[in-house]
């Protein structure tokens, strides 16, 4: 690490510029609801109320340099419970951006750099050509080995397709078979969709690094790619922050986007309601219990409870009403898993797991065997804290369970199922 000095921010002044009238720090009642409800409280000897108090007292140097800003996942739960609607995450974003690049957690910085290194906007640096190759390769194999899907397609750069589908890099990069259940779902409902060779990837750690210009640049590539293909809907697949970074950026930067931004969750619910995805819970004869993790990025920070209700509707259809147990708290009041905001990439493992203890307790209180979540970060974090604290639960994607319920989940598409379900319907 170099000796680059962290500039000092005048937090009080910045807060006045940033925060809407009536939600300024002056309005803080120091009631502590934010800290009481924040899983990052106590890490690095900091908590959201303390952050505000210190800002009010002008302790700018401490705030400009505290590593706590990398443990706050910018989940906005503090704002959600604050009677004065004070948003601390905006100041955390500011503080992150203010850190000299070589002092920021290198994992986040590197992920952002990789995202910008290719037209793919993939945080794992997967080149457009390689992505296209993997998709075609996997598709070909499925068409050959699963006769039911011999006509299935996975179009790339198809002009005028209704859905522009984004893809988390983790699948093409390290578990390509996990893309297949999603394609099967599209195939079944007859969706008109396409991947793009440009701007296809979902991840965006540039926002988490506090680098506004880089965040903009990544989103610009994706917006341009969607506009160029003339798609009506940019469809976010099961990945929370990719939705938020896109949706928020388009508004924040006033970008020209000739399409709607939607979450796959909404469509799962819609397709089930319309009978296009005839899922049911008949397979769950052992009454295996499931809970749902609401990703902050699409629930509290974006759609609100309506999408959380869709998640529950889909889950209950899939596993049976009596086999769904809600986490407490839930929906917009849910706790961040602790994997968000780049925490998984920040290399602060102890802090991340301490943060995740709340999530672990929540999951354990449900006594569920499985956690369903439409978010890759939530997925990884909940798996990690499960192993670390000794939980017995499994974490699964919705696409896995949808295809399981429909009896079309292939042999290689079962990585995340536990032994109780590993062979079901084969």
């Amino acid at each position: 690490m170099s000796e680059a000095k962290t500039p000092t921010i005048n937090f009080k002044q910045k807060a006045m510029e940033l925060l809407p009238e009536g939600a300024s720090f002056d309005a803080c009642l120091t009631c502590g609801l934010c800290s009481s409800g924040c899983p990052a409280s106590g890490l690095e000897n900091m908590d959201p109320r303390k952050f505000i108090r210190m800002a009010m007292l002008g302790m700018d140097e401490e705030l400009s340099t505290t590593p706590w800003v990398w443990t706050c996942t910018q989940c906005k739960r503090c704002q959600h419970v604050c009677p004065m609607n004070i948003d601390i995450s905006q100041l955390v974003f500011l503080a992150r951006g203010n850190w000299p690049k070589d002092k920021k957690p290198s994992g986040i910085v590197r992920s952002c750099e990789l995202t910008r290194s290719t037209d793919s906007t993939s945080a794992m640096g997967l080149q457009p050509d390689d992505f296209v190759f993997v998709v075609n390769d996997v598709l070909e194999e499925v068409r050959e080995t699963q006769p039911q899907f011999k006509d299935m397609v996975a179009p790339i750069d198809k002009k005028g397709a209704h859905f522009f589908v984004n893809q988390n890099s983790r699948e093409p990069m390290s578990e390509p078979d996990e893309m297949v259940p999603l394609w099967k779902i599209f195939h079944l409902v007859g969706a008109d969709w396409t991947y793009s060779s440009k701007g296809w990837a979902a991840e965006n750690f540039c926002m988490f690094s506090g680098d506004e210009a880089a965040w903009y640049e990544v989103i610009k590539t994706r917006v341009d790619a969607t506009n160029e293909l003339g798609c009506a809907v940019w469809l976010n697949t099961e990945c929370g922050h990719s939705y938020y970074t896109m949706w928020n950026a388009i508004n924040r930067f006033g970008m020209e986007a000739n399409f709607k931004i939607e979450s796959l969750v909404t469509y799962y619910a819609q397709w089930i309601r319309e009978g296009k995805l005839p899922v049911n819970s008949d397979w769950n004869t052992k009454n295996i219990k499931f809970t749902v993790q609401d990703p902050c990025q699409i629930v509290r920070k974006a759609y609100g409870d309506s999408i959380a209700d869709d998640l529950r509707f889909v889950t209950k259809k899939l596993v049976g009403e009596e086999n769904f147990i809600d986490m407490q708290p839930n929906r917009s009041a849910n706790y961040c898993c602790g994997g968000g905001g780049g925490f998984l990439q920040a290399g602060m493992t102890d802090q991340r797991r301490a943060y995740g203890k709340r999530k672990f307790d929540q999951i354990m209180a449900t006594q569920a065997d499985y956690v369903l979540t439409p978010c890759h970060n939530c997925h990884s974090q909940m798996e990690d804290i499960g192993h670390f604290y000794g939980g017995q639960y499994q974490v699964v994607h919705f696409w896995t369970l949808i295809c399981l319920s429909l009896g079309i989940l292939g042999e290689n598409e079962r990585t995340y199922l536990g032994p109780d379900l590993a062979n079901l319907g084969l």
């Binding site: 502590g32 959600h80 929906r331």
Partner: protein, 431 residues
């Protein structure tokens, strides 16, 4: 990219997410009125969990009020404009019964309201008169009354609750009271919050570890008192399980805010109301209210864009200063949303009386919205502002709920009357 404007149509709109707003929604749901509720997070999360009806009728008696009904009759004579003096006793009783049975059915059991005030324990080690307590706190009331041998447990790293303080102040009245301090299981970090402990106790394994820790210090106690941490979503179950593990009754004492009983209520409402068909927009402030000929329109927005609620009647339950129902400006106190006239002292100089702790309280604490007997706000000339508009809760004038220990009493009783009135309007419009 454009935001889609979301529009909701309901018969009744409730503005405010505090106790009065929640009570209004309960009464409306019970009457089958289609309802939408919006408003910033109220002060609900700051409540102790105790539901006060009336603890001080302003007669200057040193003792707290044992019989709230006698106190209300006193108010009818001495302060006829007090909201509690304007609701028939039967209605107050019915309102409390409906309210407490609703929340009990939803998983937070409360005692049925009775004839007298209970002596409830406070974190300062004093007692206060209250009307209805959560089932998790009742054994504390009983233990004090029966003078059982009791140990109060507190925790390393927990601020806002000290067993030593509770015992020091109660010892004279309760000789069998002692205290012990333990570490909460699996919480290594410095400061720990009641909210976090309560959630952790929802996990069976944590309850077992805590019971073990308590067993080692409990001595010969017949009953065990804890700060309010007995679960968040399933308090009754957590209490029962902990009692089973310890082989004796356990109870909770409220802590300083942010306290678990308030968060419990808020989270419960936020989950239960939508399930029962109510449209809830919980964390957002209503920006404007427009009274058109056909409907009343509430304009607000959430993260996802603008929202408009159309209703036939509206209940304003936005609270006082803390939650922004009233605002103090240079020229005086205003009601910012509908711009209703606010009953208030004639000048700023008379907001506070000279003696801070003076017997008569401060004039500022009596300010608020004036209403008629149907709880419809009145204009400067004493005329009803709009027959579709009602007000409930501590935004009402002529009551000092803190001194009177009547916050829940005012909220629940006035919400009950307001819903009755709104129901009439809605029935007329629907016919």
């Amino acid at each position: 990219m454009t935001y889609e404007k979301r529009e909701f149509i309901a018969d009744l709109a409730v503005i405010g997410s505090g106790l009065a707003g929640m009570a209004a929604s309960i009464f409306a749901l019970k009457r089958g009125i289609s309802t939408a509720q919006a408003g910033n997070t109220g002060a609900l999360a700051y409540t102790t969990g105790y539901l006060d009806l009336l603890g001080d009728a302003g007669t200057g008696a040193a003792e707290h009020l044992g019989d709230p009904w006698a106190g209300i009759r006193e108010l009818q004579k001495s302060q006829p404009n007090h909201p509690l003096a304007r609701v028939p006793e039967n209605d107050i009783h019915e309102a409390f019964t409906e309210f407490t049975s609703f929340i009990s059915e939803c998983g937070i059991a409360y005692g049925a309201p009775g004839k007298v005030n209970l002596k409830a324990l406070t974190p300062a080690g004093t007692t206060k008169p209250t009307f209805s307590v959560p089932a998790t706190m009742q054994p504390g009331v009983d233990a004090l009354a029966s003078q059982a041998r009791c140990v109060i447990i507190d925790f390393k790293g927990l601020r806002g609750f000290s067993g030593r303080q509770v015992v020091a102040n109660l010892k004279d009245r309760w000789p069998g009271l002692t205290t012990e301090r333990v570490s909460f299981p699996d919480m290594p970090m410095g400061e720990i919050y009641p909210e976090v402990m309560a959630r952790a106790l929802e996990v069976p394994g944590t309850r077992e570890k805590l019971a073990d820790a308590i067993k080692s210090v409990r001595g010969d106690a017949q009953v065990i008192g804890l700060p309010a941490i007995l679960g968040m979503h399933n308090p009754d179950l957590v209490m029962t399980e902990l009692s089973r593990l310890l082989g004796c009754p356990v109870f909770e004492i409220p802590t300083m805010p942010p306290s678990v009983p308030g968060i419990r209520l808020r989270e419960m409402f936020e989950q239960v109301f939508p399930k029962k068909g109510l449209t809830l927009v919980p964390q957002q402030k209503v920006r404007s209210v427009e009274f058109d000929t056909d409907s009343v329109q509430l304009v607000l927005a959430d993260n996802h864009g603008p929202i408009i609620i159309h209703a036939k009647a509206v209940i304003l339950a936005t609270g006082r200063f803390l939650s922004g129902g009233l605002e103090a400006e240079q020229t005086g106190i205003v009601e910012p949303l509908v711009n209703l006239p606010v009953a208030q002292p004639t000048s700023r100089d008379s907001w506070y009386s000279m003696e801070y702790m003076g017997r008569d309280g401060h004039a500022i604490h009596q300010c608020g919205i004036r209403v008629d007997d149907a709880f419809r706000p009145l204009d400067k000339d004493g005329k009803v502002v709009d027959p579709r508009l009602f007000a409930a809760g501590v935004i009402l004038a002529h009551q000092d709920w803190i001194r009177g220990r009547c916050g829940a009493g005012v909220a629940i009783s006035s919400a009950y009357r307001a819903v009755q009135g709104a129901e009439q309007i809605i029935l007329q419009k629907n016919n």
